[in-house]
């Protein structure tokens, strides 16, 4: 390394040629990183940190240049707003309604996809198709299927003698409808993640379990599920984070930022959008964003704690 600091002009031509790549080699990594980090700093990191600063000010959409210091007032206003608590509650219930069935279904499907099957590539591709659609397209289709008067789902319900459900105005039914869109889009994706994890479990474990007389169900419970634990934790964390940010589905379900006539399915993500871009309060929207972030941190910590505890009890 000492040769690098030696003055280059004093050296014979051959030595300079040898020294030059060394300089280059030392600086090259930063050159490779520069395109990423320059843009990442400007459009990724800076906004993240600056949101906290914005949340302490009054900033209105029309005059986004002007910032008046408010201290914590945006936050106190938020906590006094019943619609904020409503959105928090809805985010939680829709999160549970979409994440739990989604991951259970994915686990079951992955188990089946892991069998020796004809046409398994076909099944895998078909299962991932919903992932290829956009939130907007999926929501518009489902909103139509869930229509109160002419929706196909109510038509089928009537056909089997059940009374129609108001999938948009009723609180639970509308939250179920929004959750159904999320579940439809992400179940196949999660199934593939689980399948990848299952294929990493050594086949000998199943063979020896079978020799011990374990049924398929017992093999699933005592070989597959424990082997998948890290993957399951990963999907739980990712889906929880995704559920806490739900935005497009509730926005387009009926097409307004309120999340239904009585805000019955307004999520925190939608509430933030409404504050910022329907009511023009960017400062308050920034406060909502920070509350959402803290919520995610808390959820991640709870997940980590549960995972750690389960590991302990296993030993």
């Amino acid at each position: 390394m000492a040769t690098i600091s030696r003055p280059a002009p004093a050296l014979p031509a051959q030595a300079t040629r040898a020294a030059r790549p060394r300089w280059g080699a030392r600086l090259a990594p930063y050159g490779y990183l520069a395109p990423f980090f320059v843009l990442f700093a400007a459009f990724g990191l800076f906004p993240l940190l600056y949101t906290a600063y914005v949340s302490l000010h009054r900033v209105e959409l029309q005059t986004a240049d002007r910032m008046d210091w408010l201290g914590l007032q945006n936050y106190t206003r938020l906590f006094e707003d019943p619609f904020f608590w409503n959105a928090l509650r809805n985010t939680f219930t829709i999160g549970v309604l979409s994440t739990v069935p989604q991951l259970l279904l994915a686990l079951g499907l992955a188990h089946l996809l892991n069998y020796r099957l004809r046409g398994r590539t076909f099944f895998r591709v078909a299962m991932l198709m919903p992932y290829a659609t956009s939130v907007a397209a999926a929501t518009l289709v489902f909103a139509q299927l869930f229509g109160r008067d002419y929706g196909l789902i109510n038509w089928v319900l009537a056909g089997v003698g059940l009374s129609p459900v108001d999938w948009q105005a009723d609180t639970w039914a509308s939250q179920f409808g929004v959750s159904a869109i999320v579940t439809w889009r992400w179940t196949g994706y999660n199934a593939l993640i689980y399948l990848a994890g299952m294929q990493a479990i050594p086949g000998e474990l199943y063979e020896s379990a079978a020799m011990d007389g374990a049924s398929r169900w017992q093999q699933f419970r005592h070989v597959t599920v424990p082997g998948l634990r890290p993957t399951i934790i990963f999907t739980v964390v990712v889906s929880t984070i995704g559920a806490s940010q739900l935005f497009g589905e509730p926005l387009l379900y009926e097409g307004n930022a309120g999340g239904g006539i009585s805000h019955q399915y307004q999520t925190l993500g939608l509430y933030m959008y409404e504050q910022g871009w329907s009511f023009f309060h960017l400062g308050r929207a920034a406060a909502v964003a920070w509350v959402m972030f803290l919520l995610i941190v808390v959820l991640a910590l709870i997940n980590a704690a549960i995972a750690a505890r389960r590991n302990r009890t296993d030993r």
Binding site: A28, F37, T121, A289
Partner: protein, 275 residues
């Protein structure tokens, strides 16, 4: 691929077929609804098979929410973003995977750490930056912030750690190749399969992105997803035309998916094992 431990029985086929139908039906329904008239859709017994109105409805949709412009915009944005993400991720991923330098651990930790942070957290200042740069309602507003992706860097790093033997780079160095030369003639060819998977995932995600475009763009100069939103918001929304627009917005991704579905499935499973 590893041999599966168990042979699937009839029950497995039955359940998987049912699930496949549930996953595919909404696509079929989009086609049915897009090819019927609004009154046929609101009949007492709804039509369950495709009808004759497909091209008429598509024509209407193209006129109504400037879907034509939107498709072109989406294509421009998705192509630009894909090129940017694949290139910047391959460069940075290579550096993180194979080069030693000061601050490597910290920079990598920052990159990976931000993947857990919700995009909403950055949207408000980002919006203020866009307004300040006078880019509101213009395509660069959607392209610039997406040109790099922390996930992409992580993905390429994981790929190159496995795919690129250190000896290959050493050999290049011994031959006196410059760093850039090594990248061009050794790293890039090896990285190509990973770049292809990252490119497909990025293209699909950008084409389908909703939250930031809806904030940054207006319905005058939309991407497809923004146009779909305004299509659904007419005073008397015509369902068959909404579905025709939805079909137009979904078709390009479905075509990509139809051609490359197998590779996309492989890419996601690969990413899952390594992640």
């Amino acid at each position: 691929m590893k041999r599966s431990p168990l042979q699937g029985g009839p029950l497995a086929y039955a359940v998987l077929t049912a699930a496949t139908l549930a996953f595919v039906f909404p696509f079929y329904w989009t086609l049915v609804a897009a090819s019927r008239s609004n009154s046929e859709l609101s009949a007492a017994t709804p039509a369950l098979t495709p009808g004759p109105n497909l091209f008429h409805n598509i024509g209407e949709a193209l006129q109504q929410a400037s879907i034509g412009t939107a498709l072109l915009n989406s294509l421009l944005v998705s192509t630009a973003v894909t090129a940017g993400v694949v290139l910047s991720s391959t460069l940075a991923g290579f550096a993180f995977a194979k080069l030693r330098f000061r601050g490597r651990g910290l920079l990598l930790a920052v990159t990976v750490g931000t993947m857990m942070i919700p995009p909403q957290l950055g949207v408000i200042p980002l919006f203020m930056v866009i307004v300040k740069l006078d880019l509101q309602n213009k395509l660069p507003a959607v392209i610039l912030p997406s040109l790099v992706s922390a996930f992409g860097v992580f993905f390429m790093r994981q790929f190159l750690i496995q795919a690129l033997p250190d000896e290959l780079i050493e050999a290049g160095r011994m031959d006196g190749a410059s760093s850039l030369r090594i990248f061009r003639s050794i790293v890039l060819p090896v990285a190509r399969p990973g770049m292809a998977v990252l490119g497909m995932l990025t293209f699909m995600a950008t084409w389908n992105d909703f939250f930031w475009p809806i904030v940054a763009l207006s319905s005058q100069n939309p991407t497809v997803q923004v146009a779909l939103k305004s299509l659904g918001q007419g005073y008397v929304p015509d369902q068959s035309i909404i579905m025709a627009g939805t079909l137009l917005g979904t078709l390009p991704v479905l075509v990509v998916f139809g051609l490359l579905g197998r590779q996309i499935v492989g890419g996601i499973m690969q990413g899952a094992v390594k992640g």
